[in-house]
């Protein structure tokens, strides 16, 4: 079974540009999460989809970030326009359900560098 995949693995852009990150969850997983780790700090929650619906977007830093999950399959996270402080590693995770201890499986991350 394929794991969570993310594309691209690395992205280097200049301040003011737009970047779109993609996440393909494990097939059949209804829950999809986005997290971010900035400058070696803690991994922080950004948002959570259940199928195509946003369940919780309390961690989204500001309106420059837009996440979508059309059709309840893959998800995209767009940053527009990118700022220097957006640099970091963006992780996607998926889980099958919301049972008490449902494991979140993480992708390898996208390392975003904003110059």
């Amino acid at each position: 079974e394929a794991g969570v995949t993310q594309f691209p693995s690395h992205s280097v852009i200049e301040k003011g540009q737009t970047v779109t990150l993609r996440c393909d969850p494990i097939s059949g997983h209804d829950n999809l999460y986005w997290y971010r780790r900035v400058m070696g700090k803690e991994i922080k929650f950004l948002l959570h989809f259940v199928k195509e619906s946003k369940q919780d977007e309390s961690g989204m830093p500001n309106n420059r970030f837009l996440a979508e999950r059309t059709g309840g399959t893959y998800s995209t996270l767009k940053v527009q326009p990118a700022e220097l402080e957006d640099s970091g590693v963006y992780f996607c995770a998926s889980s099958h359900g919301l049972t008490r201890t449902d494991t979140q499986y993480f992708g390898p991350g996208t390392r975003l560098t904003v110059l």
């Binding site: 969570v4 700090k41 991994i43 929650f45 201890t101 499986y105 993480f106």
Partner: protein, 114 residues
């Protein structure tokens, strides 16, 4: 404000030693405490998890100790091996809250020398 504090930031031990990583939390609503292991170039992977109704859980060479009154929990790696060299993250979530979002500690880089 960091809700889960993890220490130390890095740790070096000799093979066979017992690295210990400590975490403390503030939110009493947390009731699920997983540990994740991350190797370079990979995403974090669930290693072991504990609920607050038990004080200790062992899986192979990995042991979690949990102190509910102190709101602290720790990971011990028994008989550590060079292959255990990785970054370890503690995390917490509230299974009663919608979504099961994870709140992570800052991570600990563990290096096990041969």
């Amino acid at each position: 404000q960091q809700q889960v504090k993890q220490s130390p930031q890095s740790l070096i031990v000799q093979k066979g030693g017992i690295p210990i990583i400590n975490c403390a939390y503030e939110n009493t609503a947390f009731d699920y405490f997983p540990w994740y292991q991350q190797f370079p170039g990979k995403g974090p992977a669930l290693l072991i998890a504990i609920r607050p109704d038990v004080s200790e859980k062992k899986e192979g060479r990995f042991t979690i100790s949990f102190n509910k009154s102190a709101k602290q929990f720790s990971l011990h790696i028994m008989d550590s091996q060079p292959g255990d060299s990785a970054t370890y993250f503690c995390a917490a979530s509230s299974l009663r809250a919608a979504g099961n979002k994870l709140t992570f500690g800052g991570g600990t880089r563990v290096l096990v020398k041969p």
